[in-house]
Amino acid sequence: MAKRLFLERYSRLGQNLKGDERSRQALRVNTLKTTNEELVARLESRGARLSRIGWLRNGFHVDERPFSLGASFEYLLGLYSIQEAAAQFPVEVLDPHPGEAVLDMCAAPGGKTTQIAAAMANIGAIVAVDVSRGRLYALENSLERCGVTNCLAYWEDANAMDFKGKQFDRVLLDAPCSGNYVADRGWFSKRTLKDVGLNAERQRQLLKTATGLLKPGGVLVYTTCSLEPEEDELNVQWLIDNNDLKLEGIEGPGSPALTEVFGDELNGEIAGCRRFWPDETGTQGFFVARAVKE
C-alpha cells in the first residue's frame, strides 16, 4: 500500500520507478594514507576488481572481491572507507580546503567527516556534531581508523548547541531524513507521509541554525538521502525565501532538481541542485544543494 503511494508520488514528479532498484558497492580511497593508484594496485593484487567512478575524485565501484571489504588489512589500516557513491558526492560539492573551519552538523557515523578531513589534508578545523551517542562511537572509530587529527566531535543536538559565536567557512548539513528504499529493503513498510512532514520541519530548523553559523561568503551544502520533495526542493525554496543565501549551481551526476512539485512552481534556480533518481544513477536516492551566504 505504502509502496504504491510513494511510487505514485514519484510518478507525479515525472519519474517512473519500480521500487526495487539497488546500488552498487563502492569505496572511497583515504588520501590521508594512500593514493588511488596505490590502493587499486594493492586490492587488485589480491583479486579484487575496481572501476573508477568518473564523477568522484577518490570513488571506485567494487566489481569483484574475493574477501570481505569490511575486514581486510587495507580497511583496518584505514586505506579506504566503504561509502556508497552518491554519499561521496556532497563533500565534493562542499569542496573544503586545508586551513578552513568546517562544521559537519549531523556527522555520525562519520563517512563524510573523514572525507572532509582527507580533502583538508588534516589541516584546519572540523567540528562534528551529532545527537546520537551510539552513532558517535562509529564516528570515533572512523576518525581513528582513517587517521583524522583535525576534528572535534561533540555529542549534542546541533540545534541546541552553544557555538559561542564561532562561525564557519563551510557547513555540511547531511540532515536526518526519511531515507529511501534503495538502501533499506523494508523502507516502504516503515515510512509514512507524516514522517516526511515531521522530518521536513526538523530539517528547516537545522537549516536555520546552519545559516546562522556560516561566515559571510561561507558555503552551505544541504543534502538528504530522501527522494521526497518536502525534504529536498521545498526545503531549499524555504531556505532561500527566509535567509540571506544564494543558490549555486552544481555540476555533476544526477538530474536537475525539480522546479515544479505537485503543481506548485518553485524558484527556477533550484534546478541547479542535483537529484539522484536511483534508476538513472545506479545509486541510492540523494539530493544535494549548495548555497553561499551573502
Binding site: 569490511g70 575486514a71 588489512f73 583496518l76 589500516l77 584505514g78 573551519a101 584546519g124 578545523a125 567540528v127 562534528a128 551517542r133 558517535l136 562511537y137 562509529a138 564516528l139 570515533e140 572509530n141 576518525l143 581513528e144 581508523r145 587517521g147 587529527t149 583535525n150 576534528c151 572535534l152 566531535a153 561533540y154 555529542w155 549534542e156 548547541m161 552553544d162 557555538f163 559561542k164 564561532k166
Partner: protein, 150 residues
C-alpha cells in the same frame, strides 16, 4: 604499562609527553593543537578531539594513529611477520617467537614490540615466556576496530 609515557618508553621512544598538556576525555588522551583548540567549546559534550593517542584500561592501549606514527620512528622495538602470522595477530592471537621473521630490538621477556607487516603497524605486544619458549602476547591489534563494532 598503565600510562602513555610508560608505553612509549617500553617500545624504545626516548621522548615523553607532559601528560598535563593533553586533553582528557574519560580514559582517552588527545593532543589538540592551537588552531583546533579554538573550537573546544563545551568539554562536557566533547567525545573526540584532534590527535587521538590512546586510552588506559588495564594497560595503555595506543591508538592506531600513534602506532602509525611510531612505525616511522627509527630505533624502536619492532618485529616483522608474514601475512599468515599478521592475520592471526589481527584476529587477536599471540605470536610465537619462531614465527617472527625479523626483529629490531632484543626479543626478551618483558620488552614491548610493535608488530609490522608490509611497512604497516598492526598493533603491539609484550614478550612473555610460554612453555619454555617466548611469545609476543597480543596487547592491541587493529582487528579491534571490528570487535568494537559488534
Amino acid at each position: 604499562m598503565r600510562s602513555l609515557n610508560e608505553f612509549l618508553a617500553a617500545v624504545g621512544v626516548k621522548a615523553s609527553y607532559d601528560e598535563e598538556t593533553l586533553l582528557k576525555i574519560n580514559t582517552k588522551r588527545f593532543s589538540v593543537g592551537e588552531e583546533l583548540g579554538n573550537f573546544v567549546l563545551d568539554r562536557r559534550q566533547l567525545v573526540y578531539a584532534g590527535r587521538y593517542l590512546g586510552k588506559t584500561r588495564r594497560e595503555f592501549l595506543p591508538s592506531s594513529i600513534l602506532l602509525e606514527e611510531l612505525s616511522r620512528v627509527e630505533g624502536l622495538n619492532r618485529i616483522h611477520v608474514d601475512a599468515e602470522t599478521a592475520w592471526l595477530f589481527v584476529c587477536g592471537r599471540d605470536i610465537f617467537g619462531e614465527n617472527v621473521r625479523r626483529v629490531e630490538g632484543e626479543f626478551a621477556g618483558g620488552n614491548a614490540f610493535l608488530v609490522m607487516f608490509g611497512g604497516s603497524c598492526l598493533g603491539y605486544g609484550v614478550v612473555e615466556p610460554y612453555e619454555e619458549r617466548l611469545i609476543l602476547r597480543n596487547v592491541l591489534d587493529i582487528g579491534d576496530f571490528l570487535r568494537r563494532e559488534r
